[in-house]
Structure formats: structure tokens, C-alpha cells
């Protein structure tokens, strides 16, 4: 049951991720990113982080990606024109990524015992209450700082948006 769900949604996430990279039109990339996020939300649920799953949908899919799509629609951005990629990237890009992935995978496999298993309900500490209490006690300062950060971001966005550059 779990394994089926995991495989289904992992595959969805991977396909959407690949689609994000290969699509040339930003809006298709955006849609595939939304797909990734939805799939990840389900995986979060499997991992017992139900609040994070909902937050993922609200914040990422519901707000951030809507912003993206909004901007894409606003700028009416078309598909990319084909220009030459940079030298370094052309030469070293794929092998670098491959090496990177290889090492990370190797480290994961080497460091974590295979016996570690995940099953639904194995960890139910991800509810709103479980997150809220530490968030407002142990992590209060980071929380407040983040709120300040958001305030700054809002102001910055407004300023950038208002400024008339011409």
C-alpha cells in the first residue's frame, strides 16, 4: 500500500521534475513544478508531516506558484529562443551533476542502514499542535526573525514594483 503510493507519487514527481527542465515554455515548467509539489505533498503525508503537506499546498502551490504564473501571464513570456549555452556549462554541466548525484547517493547508501523503513503512521508528530508548540517556544526567535524577513520582503517587493524605470 505505502510502497505503491510512494512509487506512484515519486514517479510523478520525477516526471514533472524532468518536464520542468526540458520544457522550453515557462508556463509548462510552472505546471510541472506544481505537479512536483503536489506529489511531494502526498509524500509528506506518508512521512506523517500532514501539516507540512497542507502548508506545501497553501504556500507553495497556492501562493508562490500562483505568483509565478501570474508573472508569466503578466509578462506574457514566450518560449525560449535558442542561444548558445556557456562553454563551461556545455562541457562540464552534465558530468558534474552526474558525479554530484553519484556521490550523494553513495553517501546516503553508505551512511544510512538499509533497514531504516518508513510506513504511514510510523511517525504522527507532524500535526499542527506538534509543530505549533515548539515553533512558539523553542523556535520563537527564528520565527519572529522570519516574520521580520517577510515584512522586509513585502516592502522590497512593493518598492521594486512601484519604481518606474524608464
Amino acid at each position: 500500500m505505502d510502497i505503491a503510493l510512494f512509487i506512484i507519487f515519486a514517479v510523478i514527481a520525477l516526471l514533472c521534475g524532468i518536464n520542468l527542465v526540458v520544457q522550453t515554455h515557462p508556463i509548462s515548467s510552472a505546471l510541472s513544478l506544481i505537479g512536483v509539489m503536489g506529489a511531494l505533498a502526498v509524500l509528506y503525508l506518508l512521512l506523517g508531516a500532514e501539516f507540512l503537506a497542507a502548508a506545501q499546498m497553501i504556500v507553495y502551490a497556492g501562493a508562490i506558484m500562483v505568483l509565478f504564473i501570474f508573472v508569466i501571464m503578466l509578462l506574457n513570456a514566450g518560449a525560449e529562443r535558442v542561444t548558445k549555452t556557456r562553454q563551461l556549462v556545455k562541457i562540464a554541466g552534465v558530468p558534474l551533476i552526474a558525479v554530484f548525484l553519484g556521490i550523494v547517493a553513495f553517501v546516503i547508501q553508505a551512511q544510512l542502514p538499509r533497514s531504516q523503513l518508513v510506513w504511514f503512521g510510523g511517525f504522527s508528530g507532524g500535526g499542527p499542535r506538534d509543530i505549533g508548540i515548539p515553533l512558539f517556544t523553542r523556535y520563537l526567535l527564528p520565527f519572529e526573525v522570519t516574520s521580520v524577513l517577510i515584512l522586509i520582503a513585502i516592502i522590497g517587493a512593493i518598492v521594486l514594483g512601484k519604481k518606474e524605470m524608464d
Binding site: 556557456r86 556549462v89 562540464a92 558534474l96 554530484f100 550523494v104
Partner: protein
């Protein structure tokens, strides 16, 4: 019991007036300024009543201010009997003078600025008094210095005001330097700056015969006190400080701030008691200042200058008291002096106000019929300062003098003579101002009630204030010094009255006598008239060399060549490096990203594989 409220009120007043004063109406400014000070006065009263008998200090810790290594300095206040006296003086006199200032500053430019500075001063003064460790005290110490600078230079459009402000500030720096050195030594010696710990530590040490650590500390503290309380040789700033508005002279340069030095010495009595030599220094400097300033006071014609020099000399008395071990007498004199000297200055202010800014005694005279209230109140003050029997000055001054007699008779005699001088010049000023014919051209008038009201209150205090027996109140802190010796008391009082009589003879009976005297001993007279040329001497000996030295050596030599050279050199090198580095900056984000990936791969190779094994 919320001591912090006491200084907080004036601070709030300062913030409100300083930030919004330009926009809010005058009535509101007054309400804020007066209200804040009055509130803290009331709170002081409340605190003192609820405190009961302050046999032991009541301390409050608010937060840790500095915590680094062994240094642990908290922001904590404490109130004991000494503090209580100072608090009452500061807030009480302060409120009166604030009220007076409403009338005096009426129609001046920068009205709100004045009151915000005054409130700020109150805040720092109260911090100074309440502080229960040297560093916090130093904060208040510096703060009052700042406010005095600001207020002396209040008429910053006038050149003399700004220079006077600078002079006060710079001279005070010398004192503060001594104070900070003293604090370093104290910390090094006792590992703390809290009064309680320091004094306990000092109590454990033997009396020092020679110039030991305690003596050094005390002498450095004395330097600080001299700077703040205008003692020889650092008194020069105080007479010039009269450039500020008169309420300022009354509040800061007579009643409260200048007594901070005395307070500090008395507060550190535990240290001084173990350093007899330092005590002698205190006494000597006090005596010398008292006499010296009194002589200068004889010859001045600017009414405020006269009182300024009398302030210096009275401060000398306080130091004398502290120096001979009569700390309580010193504080007593601080209080009485606060009464009558504030009154003197406010009265002088009233006169100046009535004469539209005329300060020269030679252009006054016969003002009695124009401003009776001012004249009478000033008369009370003059009696008080010249130690007329049963006025406030009488008690405190004689407490000091008799203590001095217990130390060494000659000190007493000099003190008594000085008392005579004091009486003489104060009454000289009074007679020149109020009796005889009016010699000025302005049209004199009496001041409004808002100014005369505080005068009357202060007059009552100046006359009756002596019956507040500070030494008994301070008994548990300072052992009572030698009992009153009636002979000494009446001698000094008598000398005082002789001085008054002489003044009457010189300036009422035979007004041409002074001129004769002046001609008779011309050289000496001129020397005194020019304040012994002290300013000139300082200028030649200290100021010029400093200025020239810094101009040639420091500016041309050091700054221009070495420092700028180094800075520019560094800049040039950085530029050269940048020229090389920028080759890597293609400006294409994605190649940067590729670099980042490369770096992270290498990192992973190093860490990850290393850790995997």
C-alpha cells in the same frame, strides 16, 4: 520599589519635548517639562516614605549591562540616606527652577530645546545619584557634562557661548580622564565596580601611610571631582559657564551638577578614610579654592560672575569638609548651598530679566524700589551665604569649620577669613545692585509671579533650611564629628557680620572708598580683577603647545603621510587584485552556477567520502 521610575519621568519629558516640541503648543511643553520633574519629585517622596529608616541601602537590579569575562556590571540603582538627601535636593530644587524657567525663558528662541535639555539633565543627574556602581555613576557623570555643555552653549549663535561650552567640556574631560583611570584601578584592585563590594574590600584594607593603591585611586577620583566641581586647578570653566541662561546656572552650575564631585567623594568615603594623604589633598584643594575664588569674587562686576566665583569658593568649603572627615557636614553644606545659591542665581536672573539682559553691577543700583520681592529674597540668600546666625549657611558652614578646627586650627582661621570675604563680596553685589542711585539706562521692572514664587519658596528654605539636621540623618553612615564649639561658631559668624558691615561701609556709606583702594594697591587689584591671569597662563602653557603640536606632528606628519599612505596603498593593492580576479567574473549567472556545482562536488568528495569510510 521602582526606583527606575524616578529618572524615567524626566527622560520621557526629554523625549516628548525633544521629538515633538517643535510642533506642540507652549502650554503642553511646559506641562510636560514641569510635570515630569514634579512627578519624579513626588515619586522620590513616595519612595522615601515607604522606605522608612534607610539604615541599609535598598538596591534594585534591573538588567546586566556589561558581561564579559570577569567584568559583570549591572544596571542597578540603590537608595540610602545619602542618596535620599541628594535625590530630594535634585528633584526639589530642580522642580522649582523648572517652574522659574517658564517665566525666565518666556519669549526666548528654542524654548522646547531648553526644556528638553533640562529634562535630560535631570535624568542623568538622577542616574548619577541613584547609581550603585561606579560605571553607571560615570554614565550620569558624563551625561550631566553633556547637558551642561549643551545648555552653556544654548545661545549657540553667540561666539562666547559656544567657546564657553567647549571650554567646560574640555576641562571636564581632564577630570573624567582621572575618574576613568580611577575606575580601572578600582576594578583591578577589587575586581568589581559595585559600591558595596568595593567598599567592603576597602574596609578590609589597612590605612595607608604612603602613596599606596588606595591613595592613587582616591587622588584620581579627586581629579575627577575637581573637574566636575570646579576646584583648583580645573575651576576655570565654571565662571565662563555663566554664558548659559540663568536657570541653567542656578540648576546645573550652582545647585546640583557641580556638587556631583562632592557627592562622589563622600560616596567613596570608605576609600578616602583609608587614604589619609588623599584626604589632606582634598582638604587642601578645598581650602585653597575657597580662598582663591573668594578673592577673585571681590573684584568682579558681572553679577553672575560674582556668584559663580562664590559657587567655586563654597564648593571649596564642601571639599574642605569632606577633606577633614566631616562628610555629613559637607553634604549638609551641599544642601544649604543648593538653597541659597540657587536663590542667588534665580534672583540675579530676576534682576537681569527686569533689566532686559543687563548683567553689569555698575549699571545697576537703586533697584530696591523697582523690584522689592527680588531684593528681599536676595537679601535672605546673602545672609544665608555669609553665615548670618540661624540662617542655613550658618549651621552647615560652621559644622565644616569646627570640624576643620579639629583637624588643624590654621585651616579654621583661613576658612573664617574666607567666610568674611564671602560675606563682603556677596553684600557688595547686593548693595551695588539695590541701593543708591540707578546708574543704568534700561527700564527696570519686577518679574512675574511664576518667577518670584520659586524665589520666595527658596528664600524660606535658605533661611530655615539649616534646621534640617543632615548630620543627624546621616549619623549611621558617618560618625558625628567633633561637637560644636560655641566660641568658634560665634567667631566665624562675627567675622561674617564684619564682612557685611565692611561691604555696607564701602558701597553705601562711602562709595568712593573702593576706587581709592583699587588705586592704592593697583597691581594686585588688577591681577585679581583679571582673575590672576589663570586663563592666559593655561592658554600659554597647555593650549598653544597642544594645538601647534597636533597641527605639525599629528596632522601633517602622522595623518597625512603615514595613515593616508597606508590606506591608499591598501586601496591600490586591492584594485590590482580585483583587476586579476575580475577575469573570472564572466557576468553569466549560469557559469557561476557551474562553478558552484563544481565546488560542491569537490566538497562532497572530501567530506562525504571521508565520512563514509
Amino acid at each position: 520599589m521602582n526606583l527606575w521610575l524616578i529618572p524615567i519621568f524626566p527622560l520621557a519629558g526629554f523625549l516628548i519635548n525633544g521629538l515633538a516640541g517643535r510642533r506642540i503648543p507652549k502650554a503642553l511643553i511646559n506641562t510636560v517639562a514641569i510635570g515630569s520633574v514634579l512627578l519624579s519629585f513626588l515619586w522620590v517622596l513616595k519612595v522615601l516614605f515607604s522606605a522608612g529608616s534607610l539604615d541599609t541601602a535598598i538596591g534594585e537590579h534591573y538588567f546586566t549591562w556589561i558581561q564579559s569575562g570577569p567584568i559583570h556590571i549591572g544596571c542597578d540603582f540603590a537608595v540610602d540616606r545619602l542618596t535620599a538627601v541628594m535625590l530630594l535636593i535634585v528633584t526639589g530644587i530642580g522642580s522649582l527652577i523648572h517652574i522659574y524657567a517658564i517665566g525666565y525663558m518666556d519669549g526666548e528662541g528654542g524654548y522646547y530645546r531648553f526644556f528638553s535639555y533640562m529634562n535630560l539633565f535631570m535624568f542623568f543627574m538622577l542616574t548619577l545619584v541613584l547609581a550603585s556602581n561606579y560605571l553607571l555613576m560615570f554614565v550620569g557623570w558624563e551625561g550631566v557634562g553633556l547637558c551642561s555643555y549643551l545648555l552653556i552653549g544654548f545661545y549657540f549663535t553667540e561666539n562666547f557661548a559656544t567657546t564657553a561650552g567647549n571650554k567646560a567640556f574640555i576641562v571636564n574631560r581632564i577630570g573624567d580622564f582621572g575618574f576613568s583611570l580611577a575606575m580601572f584601578l578600582i576594578f583591578r584592585q577589587f575586581g568589581s565596580l559595585d559600591f558595596s563590594q568595593v567598599f567592603n574590600g576597602a574596609a578590609g584594607m589597612p590605612k595607608e601611610a604612603g602613596y599606596g593603591i588606595l591613595t592613587t585611586i582616591c587622588l584620581l577620583l579627586l581629579v575627577g571631582a575637581c573637574g566636575k566641581s570646579a576646584q583648583l586647578p580645573l575651576y576655570v570653566w565654571l565662571p565662563d559657564a555663566m554664558a548659559g541662561p540663568t536657570p541653567v546656572s542656578a540648576l546645573i552650575h550652582a545647585a546640583t551638577m557641580v556638587t556631583a564631585g562632592v557627592y562622589m567623594v563622600v560616596r567613596s568615603h570608605a576609600l578616602f578614610l583609608h587614604a589619609p594623604i588623599a584626604m589632606d589633598w582634598v582638604a587642601g584643594i578645598g581650602l585653597a579654592t575657597a580662598f582663591f575664588a573668594a578673592t577673585i569674587g571681590l573684584t568682579q562686576f558681572d553679577i553672575k560672575k560674582v556668584f559663580a566665583y562664590s559657587t567655586v569658593s563654597q564648593l571649596g568649603y564642601m571639599f574642605l569638609g569632606a577633606g577633614v572627615g566631616a562628610f555629613s557636614a559637607g553634604i549638609w553644606h551641599v544642601m544649604t548651598h543648593a538653597f541659597f545659591k540657587a536663590l542667588l542665581f534665580l534672583g540675579a536672573g530676576a534682576v537681569i530679566h527686569g533689566l532686559h539682559g543687563e548683567q553689569d553691577l555698575r549699571k545697576m543700583g537703586g533697584l530696591y524700589k523697582h523690584m522689592k520681592l527680588t531684593a528681599i529674597t536676595l537679601l535672605c540668600a546673602s545672609f544665608a551665604i555669609s553665615g548670618f546666625p540661624f540662617t542655613s549657611g550658618f549651621f552647615s558652614k560652621d559644622a565644616i569649620l569646627s570640624a576643620a578646627y579639629g583637624r588643624a586650627p590654621w585651616i579654621y582661621w583661613v576658612g573664617v577669613f574666607t567666610a568674611g570675604l564671602t560675606a563682603f563680596y556677596v553684600f557688595r553685589a547686593w548693595f551695588m545692585a539695590f541701593t543708591g542711585e540707578y546708574r543704568g539706562d534700561k527700564h527696570p521692572h519686577e518679574s512675574p509671579l511664576i518667577m518670584t514664587g520659586p524665589l520666595m519658596v527658596l528664600a524660606a528654605l535658605a533661611l530655615g533650611g539649616g534646621f534640617i539636621n543632615i548630620p543627624r540623618w546621616l549619623e549611621p553612615m558617618f560618625p558625628e564629628t567633633g561637637g560644636e564649639n560655641p566660641v568658634l561658631v560665634w567667631t566665624s559668624a562675627g567675622v561674617g557680620m564684619v564682612g557685611i558691615l565692611l561691604a555696607w561701609v564701602f558701597y553705601v556709606k562711602a562709595p568712593d572708598l573702593p576706587g581709592k583702594f583699587a588705586n592704592a594697591l593697583g597691581g594686585l587689584y588688577r591681577l585679581v580683577l583679571n582673575k590672576y591671569e589663570v586663563d592666559e597662563v593655561y592658554d600659554a602653557l597647555i593650549v598653544r603647545p597642544l594645538v601647534d603640536g597636533s597641527r605639525t606632528v599629528l596632522w601633517r606628519g602622522m595623518d597625512a603621510s603615514v595613515i593616508d599612505g597606508a590606506v591608499n596603498g591598501v586601496g591600490a593593492r586591492a584594485k590590482g587584485m580585483g583587476a586579476v580576479m575580475r577575469l573570472a567574473q564572466s557576468g553569466y549567472i549560469r557559469s557561476y552556477a557551474a562553478w558552484v556545482v563544481l565546488g560542491s562536488v569537490l566538497l562532497l568528495l572530501a567530506v562525504g567520502l571521508g565520512g563514509a569510510r
